[in-house]
Each structure stands twice: as C-alpha cells, then as structure tokens.
Symmetry: C2
C-alpha cells in the first residue's frame, strides 16, 4: 500500500513539465534541443521579455531577475528547472538554487564539458554576452574539468540583434562575425562554445568566420544531454503516453509559453527561430511579489 | 514683502535642475544638446539601464517604466522634465503628465515641428525603434502641424547596438544603414527625423545612406529649442551664476547622473558618446515603490 502511494506520487511528479527560462526568445534554441531529445516530456517556458537583455546588466540585477523567473516557474509545478540563458547561468546559478527546491540545470557546465570533450586538448574559444564573458564562468567551468585547458573569451553583443532581426544569413552578419572572430580564427582552436542562446541561429556565418573545421558547441544540445542523464538518474522521466506514436511538434499545445511582455513580438521571433509560433502563449508578471506570495 | 517672498521662492525654484530621463544611455545626446544650448542650467539625468531597451516592449510596460522614472526625478527636485527617450515620448507622455506635477517635454513634438519646418512640403522620413514606429506618434504629430504632410516611417532596431558598440563609422554600420534606408533614399524626402536618441551617433552613415542633401532632424537639438522657449515663457531660467564666465564642461560635477544598473558600462558608453564620463554617477532603484512612497 505504502509503495503504491509512493508510485502514484512519483507518477504525478514525473508527469510535471520541465521548466525553462531565458531572458527572452534566445532560450527557444535550448527548448528545441530538449524537445527533440525528450519527445515524451512537456515543457513550460518563460521568456522575460520585459527585462531582456540580461547580457549588459549587473550581477545583482541578473540575480534578482533570474530568481523571480525561477520562483514563477516553480509555482506553476515543474519537476526540473533549466536556466537556458547563458548570462543567468553564468551569474546567478547559486542564487537560483537557493530560491527553488527543484534541481536546476544551467547551460554553462554542459557547454564547458562538451567543449573539453571536442577540443582534443587544443585551445577553447568562448563567445557570449558582455556579462557572460566578464563573469569568466566558462573559463572556471572548463578549468575545473581540464586544468590545462587554455580558454579565449570574446564578447559579441551585436549577434543578439542580428539573430532577432532575422539577419542570420546576410552580408552584414558575415562582416560582424568576421570582425568579432578575427583573433579567434588565428588561435588554432579545438572548439568554439556558442555561449549565448541566440548564437546557434548565426551558426553558418560564425562557422565561416572562425573556420569550418572548428567544432561549434551549442549549449542547447549539451544541456539536453545533461537533462536526459539527470532525468534517468533521478527516475524523473515522464512515462510514455499511450498515444506516443504521434509526432510531437515544437510549440504544440502540450508546451506552455509565458512572456513578461510583448507576446506578439515573441511569437514572431519564435516563428523565425523554430518555424512555428507557440500554440499556448500568455503574458504574465513575475516581479514585485515577495517570496511568500504565490503567483 | 509678499513680492520678496515670491521672488525668493521663484529663485529657489529656478535654481532647480532640469530632469532628463531615458531608457539608457541614448538620451545623453539630448543632454548634450540641452547642455550646449542652456549653459547656465543644471541637469539631473536618469538612465533606466536595468530595463533598457524600451523600443521592443509593450505600451503598458513602457508606461510603467516611464512613470516610475518620472516620479524618481520629481522626488529629487526638478523644475522641468525632459523625456529624452523617443519610445517613452511616443507611448507614455499622457501617463507621465498624470504622474508628475512639473511640465513635461517629450522629444516627438519638437522633432516633428523641426521636420515640418525643414521639409519644404516634401515627404518626411522617420526612423526609430519598433515601438516608436508602431505607435505612429511622429505621423500624428506631423499631421497635426501639417495635415498634408506625407510621412514614411521605418524601424531600424540594429542602429542602437551599433551605436553602443562604438561601431558608428564602420563598414558594418554603413551596410546596415544602406539596407534600412534603401527605400527612403528613393522617396525624395524633404527631411529625415532621427527618431531615436542613439541615431545621432550614426549621423555620418545615415546621411550617406539616405542622401547627403537630406536634412537630418536630431530630436535633441529640436527639444533644446523647445525647452529654451518654455523656460523663457514660464520665467523658469536659472539666474546666471557670478562665475558664469567659466566654461561648463559636459558631465561636470554640477550635473548629476543616475542609472538603475551597470554604472560602469554607462560611464564607458557615455565617454564614447560625449567624450567625457559623468563626474557624479550613482546607481539607484526606481521601481517597486507605490505612488505615495518617497524615493
């Protein structure tokens, strides 16, 4: 009897969605990777579009925004939280872990691990926002995995606007990428970490600028690996549904999307990133509540 | 006696600084224009760097941010408020005027008036953020001054990042400008309004892209005209100081600067925009207070 209750409890828990938050729309590349890897799972995504971008903001502010987002998602019932934003992962992971009781997976450590695995002991390049690069979070994470690794970091702030504008394949994007990555191209890299969730959108021009033979590490894929392992280790995987044969589409009605502002713009950029706009999309407020208040 | 009291009161009021707020650093171009035009005045500038940019956000959010900024500045003692941000001027001027008791000058109407005056009855181009262009605030303001005027608006979101990155004079900026302004170049414009405070930084490439003979309307200059007139009409000008011979430098210690986040980054970009970083610069919070609370 006791075991049955436990089973029923864990079945309920395992049926909960995985929470994902990002400063805005960029984390959709992480959502896509998770969705592809874990087709049985459901997701709830929060894009903090009222306060995007995080990459030019301070530690204290990023911590505040990130913990508010995390609490919002936890209050909606999630079994695991993925911090899809590199800046929030780089600056605020300890604060987020203090703020919620579910397991929290950031994108830095998975990306660092994949880079170390791909780089064959050669130098590792990391590109990201100003805040991510200044935090040196990738450098620390890579060093913890391979103390001998040489890490070269470079902030590429214009890439975010280029991706959101839908200019990924333009001459402008190409010349911006060449400008940012000129030095890295000469550095004989073993791998380049795309340390911002917007950057996979610009994969083509980045690869051309840094050299097509350099492996590009997409934090989304690496994070999906880590989430998959964690679900298995913790026994948290969602049971296969009886109708599991149906192909799950991105942005279908099993995945719920929240934004803190400008839902229409989010839907437009989501369509550009994923090929489909969210079926369930709602604008919410996540701030101005204290810790005890439910959302 | 009564008249003396009145004189003393008005002397105190006239000595108050002029408040200026912007979503971030772009409003410094308006500050510079005001500072040049009105060297006897003191200024207090607020850059809402924790929530920048406004140009991709919704009406409700821009209104909330703008009124919080306006109340913060009013609580610091100002005689006049300049809304240096085009997006906030386009979307939130009525809400700001409801929120504070001092006179409020936005940048849209002065820019519209200067455009009508310069355009010789030809078409008027307006470039700005997505929110400003969608609001059609310039179109309405220009039509109120000249119902026959034809207005062509175009959002140029990448210009903001290019200006903040210090890429104003690069080939990248040139090709972005050519891309955005191709249609406007063919439109036989009488004037082009730089409807975002960042754009004057890119004046060179914008002028080349749209045609060097097209007058560019900088809202900063136009707003300085309007503020100067208003101070005279309302008898609000600051009396000349006895040591008025000394040349006032931008960002000297008579002008106070507040930011809601990342003061160091603000100082760096300010130096890029003005040639000098603020002498007095402080990070503050302007949100989470209700109307009755003093800041």
């Amino acid at each position: 009897m006791k075991s049955e209750i436990r089973n029923s409890k864990s079945a309920i828990r395992n049926s909960l969605p995985i929470g994902i938050f990002d400063s805005g729309v960029g984390g959709l590349t992480v959502y896509r990777a998770l969705h592809e890897r874990l087709p049985d799972e459901h997701f709830v995504y929060l894009g903090d579009t009222a306060r995007v971008p995080y990459g030019t903001k301070s530690l204290a502010t990023v911590e505040r925004y990130a913990t508010e987002n995390a609490r919002f998602l936890e209050s909606h019932g999630i079994k695991l939280l993925v911090v899809a934003c590199n800046t929030a992962s780089a600056l605020a992971l300890p604060a987020i872990r203090d703020a919620v009781s579910v397991d929290v997976v950031g994108v830095i450590h998975p990306g660092a691990r994949a880079a170390v695995e791909s780089s064959n002991g050669k130098r590792i390049g990391v590109i990201g926002t100003e805040a991510t690069v200044q935090s040196e979070a990738y450098r620390r994470s890579i060093s913890s995995l391979d103390p001998a690794a040489v890490v070269i970091e470079r902030a590429c702030p214009l890439f975010v606007s280029l991706a959101e504008e839908g200019w990924a394949e333009t001459e402008v994007a190409r010349s911006v990428a060449e400008h940012y990555l000129r030095d890295l191209r000469k550095s004989d890299l073993g791998a380049l970490v795309l340390g911002c969730t917007h950057y996979p959108i610009l994969r083509g021009v980045i690869s051309d600028a840094v050299g097509r033979d350099i492996p590009l590490i997409d934090s989304g894929d690496a994070t999906a690996d880590e989430v998959q392992s964690l679900l298995e280790i913790r026994g948290l995987s969602r049971p296969r549904a009886p109708n599991a044969d149906r192909v799950r589409l991105v942005c279908d009605d099993l995945d719920h999307f929240y934004v803190t502002d400008a839902a229409q713009r989010f839907a437009k950029v989501a369509e550009r990133f994923l090929g489909a706009a969210p079926t369930v999309l709602e604008a919410v407020e996540v701030w101005g509540h204290d810790e005890l208040r439910t959302y």
